[in-house]
């Protein structure tokens, strides 16, 4: 019951956040230097035709009217038209790209989550030994590298030297991403590198904390097999902080996606946003940024709720109130 109430409250604040962000994004992009009408018609357009276009598209209206029209469109599922791509509906380009990005993020996710939890647990169990030092240093080093730096080294090794993966992640025209799954591997590994450091570090310290607690000592003294204690008792409790860290790093994951997609020329949402910024495509920038904000906010909400559901202490505390 209580969880439902918390959920509703969080959902309310999420909606407020999105509304405020939509205003900020809109105002920010609208004050951008440059004239939309001139961008559409080109430098050689006559002042009369520019003025006619401004009038037709409602560019002369006050900013709040334009915002209302834009926001109204979004609520009805209409994200507007791209300027750079000559009036193509954003809906028809964006969602395919989002699909690609989600697939990339998901691939990265199923690589880095088990990998970093496993090595984090290993480092925690072997704390202060050589294994721990190696894992911790590797984590610290990869965490410090921006995605494109580790990506460049991965390209150098796997694409230039060994030639096992393609150098760029381009989908040939007319083919779908599912027939080109090998283009996902190097970008996903670049993201894994950064995430690995954060998550394995967190897993290590929470594992050490749990292993030093009384109930683990009790379980060990009872004569339970060591493996059983680690996996059944310790890991279950040590996973909680890790889940929060994974959720908190979702923001980095999205930033990282943009960088990685640019490096590999991967046709996702991030490289679309980059193109939009480079070509000063106002409606497309607005749509992309709003979408990233929404996905990020929702993933934070899901993490928080998941944490509440998994942690009995928070769950029962909530019920008692």
């Amino acid at each position: 019951m209580n969880i439902l109430k918390t959920f509703m409250r969080r959902l309310g604040s999420l909606i407020v956040t999105l509304v405020v962000m939509s205003v900020v994004i809109f105002v920010l992009v609208e004050i951008m230097p440059g004239d939309v009408a001139e961008m559409i018609l080109g430098q050689s357009a006559t002042p009369e035709s520019l003025e006619a276009l401004r009038e037709a598209r409602g560019l002369n209206d006050p900013i709040y009217q334009r915002y209302a029209r834009w926001a109204g469109g979004i609520l009805q599922g209409d994200l507007g038209e791209s300027i750079y791509m000559r009036g193509v509906a954003i809906n028809s380009i964006l969602w395919r790209r989002v699909g690609h990005s989600v697939l990339l993020a998901f691939t990265a996710f199923i690589i880095f989550v088990p990998l970093s939890i496993f090595f984090g647990v290993l480092a925690g169990v072997k704390a202060k030994k050589l294994t721990d030092s190696i894992i911790s240093f590797f984590g610290l080093a990869t965490m410090a590298l921006p995605e494109f730096v580790s990506g460049v080294f991965l390209i150098g090794l796997f694409a230039v030297q060994l030639r096992v993966f393609p150098i760029v992640s381009i989908i040939p025209i007319g083919e779908s991403i599912f027939s080109n799954l090998n283009i996902l591997i190097l970008p996903a590994l670049s993201i894994t590198f950064v995430m690995f450091g954060y998550i394995s570090r967190m897993q290590r310290s929470s594992m050490i904390l749990v292993l030093n607690s009384d109930y683990i000592r009790a379980a060990t003294l009872k004569g339970m097999p060591y493996k059983y204690v680690i996996f059944r008792h310790a890991l279950k409790n040590a996973l909680l902080p890790t889940i929060t860290i994974i959720g908190m790093n979702m923001g980095w994951l999205f930033g990282g996606l943009i960088v990685v997609e640019t490096l590999f020329a991967f046709p996702g949402m991030g490289s679309l946003l980059m193109t939009a910024i480079r070509t000063r495509d106002v409606p497309l920038i607005e749509a992309c940024v709003l979408l990233i904000t929404a996905i990020f906010a929702i993933s934070t909400l899901v993490t928080d709720m998941l944490y509440g559901l998994l942690n009995p202490r928070i769950r029962y505390q909530g019920d008692a109130q």
Binding site: T17, L28, P33, A144, L145, G255
Partner: protein
Amino acid sequence: MKYILYQLKRSPLAILGIAILLFWIFLAIFGPSLTPFTHTEMDSLHQMAAPGVNNHVLGTDSLGRDLLTRIIVGSRSILTVALLTSIASTFFGIIVGFSAGYFGGAIDRAVLRMLDIMMAIPPLVLAMVVLGVLGGSSIMSLSLIVSIAFIPATARVSRGSLLTCKSSEYVDAARIRGESHLYIMFVEILPNTIGPIIVEATARFAYSIMMVASLGFLGVGLQPPTPDWGMMVIENRPIITDAPWAVFYPALAIASLVISISLFSDFVSKVLIHEQ
């Protein structure tokens, strides 16, 4: 001081980090006068030259520009921007975090709410969109915008460390003496909470380098002809099979600088947190 030296002796990684960091600072200050080339000079006979050819220690890029010189000149701008950013974001963080935590109540709630909203957008995306929209970044605008993107993080740290000693006796004593709010915040509380704030600032320095390099890579950082490490990686990306050095050396420069600062920052946190 003795304690710092004692800790330093016990952590070889910290020594390595500090050594690399000093190396880069040295290069940034004196480097440009040590190389025979300038960062825009094009050696038209030696394009994509391998390291060592015609005095190009690290080779040249597709336009025949000397990579070593460009990396050295680029170290100046990235170190300057990152330093300014970590100082400015810590400063803004202290102002915002302290005023929220000190006054509490409605102000605290309002500030926290605002930070939550700012956090709804990933810092890299925020900085990238703002810089892309404004166009033509300079060292000042780049530092300012990245520091603003970092405020939610630094303000939380400052607020948290203020709250831990807000109810101490010396704060009450100062209040009874009739000291002003500003005096209590900055003369009484700040010196006592400086440890975690300094640790955060050194970590912020590493984040700033990553962020500035990523922004340069995305093409919204410092504009040409100023060489930018991140930009060097993406502009030489198409020739990675023919001249891999043109991509790897700038990437290696970023990697070594960020890792050295992380090691340094880990050491600072070890020293400062043990001292308390």
